[in-house]
Amino acid sequence: MSDFTTALVMMADWETMLAIVIGTVFGMIIGALPGLGSVLAITIVLPFTFTMDQVPSIALVLAIYCSSVYGGSLSAILINTPGTPQSATTMLDGYPMTRRGEADLAIGWATGASVFGGLFSAVVLIFAAPQLARFALGFGPIETFALICMALTCIAGVSHGSLMKGLLAGVFGLFLATIGTDNMTGSVRFTFGFFDLSSGLALIPVLVGLFALAEVFSRLGEAVPSDTGPLARVRGMRFAPFREWYDRRVTMLRSAIIGTCVGVLPGTGAATASFIAYAEAKRSGKYRDRFGEGEPEGLVASETANNAVTGGALVPTLALGIPGDAVTAVLMSTLIIQGIQPGVRLFIDYPEVMDAAFIALIVCNIMLLVVGIPLSRMILPILRMPEGLLMAGIVVLSLLGAWSVGGRMFDIYVALAFGIVGAVMRLVSVPVAPVIIGIVLAPMLEESLRQGLILTDNNFFAFFTTEHPIAIVLAIATLLISAAALRTEFKSPD
């Protein structure tokens, strides 16, 4: 049986399909609730994947990833508050449509565009990721070291404005991963005599703290509630005639390309993609004069681009083992929990699982349509849920998730500690995402640095000689990104 047939059999399993349906419903709801989002949604379900098989667990997190990005558009259209930052531009034309009494039509446009963007990027992922992995097979430790340095600089510099704060967060994350047993020498590091720390900090309690608990603390610390418009009446979802979709095909295709390309770049993310696609559509779209007044073309540009990011962002994550943002870092940790190490050997070592993951991604995007139709009728009562109750529920569920890693109170204490750390970081505008990416990348970075130094007789500068042209190119790119980010930073601090 070929890998593809095996993958199809794996996908046809009821457990996998159920995981996709549950993941899509859950992701849409969490994505629609303002302020929550993809990272929190995946973090919450991560403990459930411990007892699941490889394919259903991957399908579950992929479903949550795709649907949470789409879910943000529902609240943007219905209550004038984007559920996730990537839906901010959806609001510009989506909410005016709701005010005109066309909420169902706006949701139809958003759903169709999201499905198209997601499918487009899934196809790109299927073709690009194995090729990139094949190219990167020739990477030695020195090239790997240079690549991780560049990715971390990109993420730190681009993701949240201040390069220095981003780098500090990244270094903090890298350091956290060194706590526990050193893989090379077997020595125990930075445990301060605590036996529980000898195996290092588990990723899930840290994630739960930094993303779930810190989010709760920060949200409760915000003084002004978001300004939502009057509540709309929703009759579900309605699709525009095919001719209207055909009229906007260029914008859809262009936005899908923008979203996929932006997704591949580390540190940028779906919000950037939707802003670029919206701006481009506003500049060159067929109906650009009507933008901001409830023009579906604006909505389509934003939604196609932000969902196209999903497949694009998975290209470096799967092919190189380098996540571009916090969501893909959490996704990568799901694979690691399942005993799958993303990276250049992924498509050689697990071809059938990867084929199943690709099929799952396509099914997840189609499921947006299937689940979106009934859920769009029910979403308003969910959006009206009292915030206090929601926050309390998130705390209970998150702490139970931290407990489920090893069944010990220590992990709950770690989650709580990182909840406070995360809240403080938000207070001083230090991005949290580089911490997680640092934790995920640290073992690979340390190993490649040490191996590289052994190869060059402890001469760090020998990393960047003509023997390693790729490392030189990556180092130059790192320097240029740093210089550009620092220039911007010192022009206007924060």
Partner: protein
């Protein structure tokens, strides 16, 4: 509190943490049998140096003054919610998951979330019980149970 001070305070805090970690690191002795050319703290040492340099640079850069109230911060509410969660975690290690979660959800929703009492108390009972069932029966992960002395106390009281 101004943002200038917040940045500086954060960096000073990070520098103090860095110093503590540096002290811990200096206690490691180099074992030639295990080091493979590098001692185990070779990589963390590099990170701590970069960490310190970034903190100093950020302290020097923090020159813009912004009033924190502009950011819409309600520090007191945040501190209260943190305190309630800390008490909840401590209570969980003693009273177990269900009892502590019911209490936490009710108190948190009513006093921090301004939720009406009836829905808050109903949800406070239903949600932790539902989660307990899901984790213990479906996923086979037993949530935290009460401390042995609490169980002994209750079994003594009933017998």
């Amino acid at each position: 509190m101004i943002k200038y001070n917040r940045d500086v305070l954060f960096c000073l805090l990070m520098l103090m943490l860095n110093a503590v970690l540096w002290l811990e690191m200096s206690s490691y002795s180099k074992d030639s049998l295990l080091d493979y050319g590098f001692d185990p703290v070779f990589f963390p040492r590099i990170l701590l140096i970069i960490w310190a340099v970034l903190c100093v640079a950020l302290t020097l850069r923090a020159r813009r003054v912004v009033d924190a109230t502009e950011n819409g911060l309600r520090g007191r509410r945040m501190l209260i919610s943190m305190t309630i969660v800390i008490v909840y975690v401590l209570l969980m290690s003693v009273a177990g998951f269900i009892a502590s979660s019911v209490l936490f959800m009710a108190i948190f929703a009513i006093f921090v979330g301004d939720v009406r009492r009836v829905p808050a108390i109903t949800a406070a009972f239903l949600f932790p019980l539902g989660l307990w069932y899901l984790f213990s029966q479906v996923v086979s992960i037993a949530p935290p149970s009460p401390a042995p002395w609490i169980l002994a106390l209750f079994s003594g009281a009933t017998s």
